[in-house]
């Protein structure tokens, strides 16, 4: 006798729903395990929200004209109110509007820099770990050179030398960040290389390319993913710092670091122009860190 017959037809939809949920849970055990980590879920949810804002902010913002260089003399430095939820800045522009418009800049900064750094760093690290000898020594010494100058200093210098702009700040950060992934890929390759399945693949005549990209790379994906999500936050922090110091985005761009910098002149009487954009950076980076921590726990449990 099935559950349907036992409980009568009225219960059927409920039972089906439970069944569907059960089978979904059984078929996605890994997803379910990730979803049990509440901070990670919260972080993912916030990130999702940010991507939505990034995509449709022109339809969402209350004062679309305030994104660029509009000046509204009649409402300069107004404190938060029902009309302007987060107040207005020194040019009378709505701060909420500008924070929402700046979402894409910070997210793409993290996304682009980390992607480029992975594409450059991971193959170099793998080559160093796999071939060893002089190749390894030269590559890892270059990694050491890049590591012994603080990321912020090198990125700031390169960004200014290229000519201060947000794009150049991204290029500068990518040039600086590849070493992080080179080091991780190097360490991972060294340990994976001695696994039996790599030896077997080699004995069966697999090419170096096959071993590197089909045997070794998939097995370090989790380590790279965790670092990528944690470092995306760090990259956003350094990127906004570069703009804060004046070597990234330039006014009137609605970039968060720049907004904090220009709001600073109106402290202490007007605290809102520098408080809220900073909070936006804080929540973004915190979500990325919560996701990264969640991913790390997740892979550690496997």
């Amino acid at each position: 006798m099935t559950e349907h017959q036992l409980l009568g037809p009225a219960a059927a939809p409920a039972i089906d729903a439970v069944d569907a949920k059960l089978s979904a849970e059984q078929s996605f055990p890994r997803l379910r395990r990730f979803l049990r980590n509440r901070p990670a879920v919260l972080g993912s949810f916030f990130m999702l929200l940010m991507f939505v804002v990034m995509a449709v902010w022109p339809q969402l913002v209350p004062y679309p004209d305030d994104v660029a260089d509009a000046v509204n003399f009649d409402r300069m430095l107004e404190p938060p109110s029902a009309e302007f939820w987060l107040g207005t800045d020194e040019a009378g522009r709505d701060i909420l509007t500008r924070i929402m418009a700046g979402t894409g800049m910070s997210l793409s900064l993290g996304l682009v820099v980390i992607s480029v750094a992975i594409v450059i760093g991971v193959p170099l690290g793998m080559i160093a770990g796999y071939y060893g000898g002089w190749t390894e020594r030269v590559i890892m010494r270059i990694v050491d050179v890049f590591s012994s100058v603080p990321a912020l200093v090198l990125a700031l210098a390169i960004s200014v030398l290229l000519g201060p702009s947000l794009t150049n700040a991204m290029i500068a950060l990518s040039i600086v960040w590849w070493r992080v992934f080179a080091r991780i890929a190097h360490g991972q390759t060294l340990s994976i290389k001695s696994e039996p399945y790599v030896a077997i693949a080699r004995q069966m005549g697999a090419s170096d390319i096959h071993v590197l990209f089909r045997e070794i790379l998939p097995n370090m994906a989790s380590a790279i993913l965790v670092t990528a999500s944690l470092d995306a936050g760090a990259v956003i922090l350094i990127g906004t710092s570069i703009s804060f110091l004046g070597a990234g985005a330039s006014p009137p761009t609605a970039e968060w670091g720049l907004m904090v910098a220009s709001g600073r002149a109106y402290l202490p009487s007007a605290w809102w122009p520098s408080l809220f954009p900073g909070l936006a950076i804080f929540f973004t980076v915190m979500s990325l860190n919560m996701i990264g921590d969640g991913l790390r726990d997740f892979f550690a449990g496997e």
Binding site: P39, R141, I142, D144, V145, F146, S147, S148, V149, P150, A151, L152, V153, L154, L156, A157, I158, V160, L161, L162, G163, G233, A234, L237, I238, T240, S241, F244, L245, G246, A247, G257, V260, A261, R264, L267, P268, W271, S274, L275, G278, I281, F282, V285, M286, N289, M290, D293
Partner: protein, 337 residues
């Protein structure tokens, strides 16, 4: 064995420093940034620019410029700063103690607060302290330092009027001996000056310490928990040893090596952060000069500051390496166990 190891480490240090000098030298010369245009402004004629370029030696081939630079370096000459119109080496000598004092104070706060908190979080795992430490850890690595610095200034200096929010001192300081205001005033036994210097140091050092404190705390916690799984802490408890001695003298000591590695990694990050913190708190150190030099394409300033920073990063990492076998006698230098 140990001497051999130190010698090979010294050789590595030199390779890295030479590498950094080449890297930054090539970057300044190859990328489009131009110190001459920056120094002379928009109204300079082409003639003036060629003349200054020749004066600075920027018209020579790259390898000759580098040769001149290295030759100068050996006689302690890093060239002239275009921002301050003085020798870069003089500026660095003057400003270095301020940055070192700030970074070392922040490192001191990060270690002396982070390590005990990490131990407590591990001992009372999933308890209140552990939960709080988790929050501190998350916040500590998530906020932008320039923003927290500004907010701290707003809160401490302007709203509560508790602490000075810019500069290094506001009373006459005793004679300069080390350049560290705290140490100089201790030597002169000038308690007013000492208090003043410490009060100025507190806010910027706290901002600089927060991130490293958070990471150190989490690292200590994780490694303490791993150590607790081993049988010896249990045995020590069974024979009635005091928990404080077990935790701090035995377990912490065994669990500390990865934290030492972490501290080595944190040092360059902290020096980098000081570029932002010194700017916000008007701290008269090399990082603030470095930021100004970078912003105005002052090549000699940029190269001088980068090399000095690199030197300290490499040196402090060497010190960390030498500390390994002192803290954990099971470790032998040179990878021999």
């Amino acid at each position: 064995m140990r001497l051999n190891y130190l010698l090979s480490r010294l050789a590595q240090m030199i390779v890295v420093i030479v590498g950094v000098s080449v890297l930054i030298f090539v970057l300044t010369r190859v990328l489009p940034g131009d110190p001459v245009a920056a120094a002379l402004g928009d109204r300079a004629t082409a003639e003036q620019m060629t003349q200054l370029r020749a004066e600075l030696g920027l018209d020579l081939p790259l390898w000759q410029q580098y040769g001149r630079f290295v030759a100068g370096l050996f006689s302690g000459d890093m060239g002239m700063s275009l921002v301050e119109k003085r020798d870069v080496s003089k500026i660095i000598a003057e400003r270095l103690p301020a940055t070192l004092e700030l970074v070392l104070a922040a490192l001191f706060i990060a270690i002396s607060v982070g390590v005990p908190l990490g131990v407590m979080a591990a001992v009372y795992r999933n308890g209140v302290i552990d939960q709080i430490s988790r929050l501190i850890a998350l916040f500590g690595v998530s906020f932008p330092q320039f923003w927290v610095g500004i907010m701290l200034q707003l809160l401490m200096g302007l709203a509560l009027a508790l602490l000075p929010i810019t500069g290094r001192s506001s009373v006459p300081m005793p004679q300069t001996i080390t350049g560290f205001l705290t140490i100089d005033s201790l030597i002169a036994f000038d308690l007013t000056a000492l208090g003043n210097a410490l009060r100025h140091l507190l806010c910027p050092a706290l901002v600089l310490a927060a991130g490293p404190l958070a990471t150190i705390m989490r690292m200590v916690r994780a490694n303490m928990i791993d150590e607790f799984e081993k049988p010896y802490p249990e045995l020590a408890r069974a024979i009635g040893m005091h928990p404080f001695i077990i935790n701090f003298q035995y377990v912490l000591r065994n669990a500390f090596t990865p934290t030492l590695t972490l501290i080595g990694f944190l040092i360059p990050i902290m020096i980098g952060s000081s570029f932002v913190v010194e700017k916000v708190f008007a701290w008269p150190g090399i990082a603030r000069f470095g930021a100004d030099a970078i912003m105005s394409n002052d090549f000699n300033g940029v190269i001088g500051i980068t090399l000095v920073i690199c030197f300290f990063v490499v040196l402090l990492n060497l010190i960390v390496d030498i500390l390994y076998p002192i803290i954990d006698p099971r470790i032998r230098l040179g990878g021999e166990r």
